[in-house]
């Protein structure tokens, strides 16, 4: 068996995941991002409750 120094090896790096699995994961991650935004964006855009604003403003006046 012939010894080949690491610096001379021409081997391609072994991919961590099969391409198809990586594609599936990427597609799922994209779908997940859109889905989570649909689920939670509504909460972000809701107005701040009056009661909470009142508490903050009262404290500001102190």
């Amino acid at each position: 068996m012939k010894y080949v120094a690491m610096s001379q090896r021409k081997d391609k790096p072994v991919p961590v995941k099969p391409p198809q699995e990586a594609k599936t994961q990427a597609a799922f991650d994209l779908w997940l991002r859109r889905g989570l935004h649909k689920l939670y964006d509504e909460v972000v855009s809701e107005p701040i409750p009056e009661e909470l604003l009142r508490i903050i403003e009262e404290d500001r006046q102190k």
């Binding site: 599936t24 994961q25 997940l32 889905g35 649909k38 689920l39 939670y40 909460v43 909470l52 404290d59």
Partner: protein, 190 residues
């Protein structure tokens, strides 16, 4: 007083994000609103100790999280309500999309609480792993790992391609106790 104005304005600006974090933690709209209000009150009462220039967002997320843990310790009998925003399902999206969204909402409630929180803060808020780590008081590697495991667990559940071989779904008890139990180990109360 400039600092006080900045502090209050910063609180108002971050409330929407706190609300999302609270919903991710509690899975209940009413409980989330209460949690946000409690966290804001805690922050207001401790504003003198706030140092301008520090990461305000991380501070507020941490206050809310600590408050959640504290509430959980007091009230172990929390109701297990799956309270994903209902109107999310009443969109113009096609029927299949609505069903998929509903499935996602359900799957989210099954995730361990720290994974759910991490995923929402990174994906919905666009928070960096470093900021997430600071906000949740963990190492950056832990923050990354939580988000990664949450993604892959959801993929396994929703696509059904893999059996739940690596991480079986946590029981409700495990989910709700995971953070306090860890906190208890790190900081045992006398």
């Amino acid at each position: 007083m400039t600092t006080a104005v900045t502090f209050h304005d910063q609180i108002i600006a971050i409330v929407p994000k706190l609300r999302v974090q609270a919903l991710a933690l509690t899975r209940n709209r009413a409980a989330a609103e209460d949690l946000v209000q409690d966290a804001v009150c805690n922050a207001l009462s401790a504003q003198d100790s706030f140092i301008p220039g520090t990461n305000f967002a991380a501070l507020m997320h941490r206050i809310l999280r600590n408050r959640f843990i504290s509430n959980l310790r007091k009230r172990r009998d929390t109701t297990d309500i799956e309270d994903v925003p209902s109107s999310s399902f009443a969109t113009d999206a096609p029927h299949e999309d609505r069903l998929a969204l509903k499935e996602l909402g359900r799957a989210m409630t099954r995730l361990p609480v720290d994974q759910r929180e991490a995923l929402v803060m990174v994906v919905v808020h666009g928070m960096s792993y470093e900021a997430l780590a600071e906000a949740t008081g963990c190492a950056v590697g832990t923050a990354k790992s939580r988000v990664f495991r949450a993604r892959r667990q959801l993929e396994a559940w929703l696509l059904g391609e893999r059996q739940e071989r690596q991480s079986r779904p946590a029981s409700r008890l495990e989910r709700e106790r995971s953070i306090p139990a860890r906190q208890e180990r790190l900081h045992p109360s006398s």
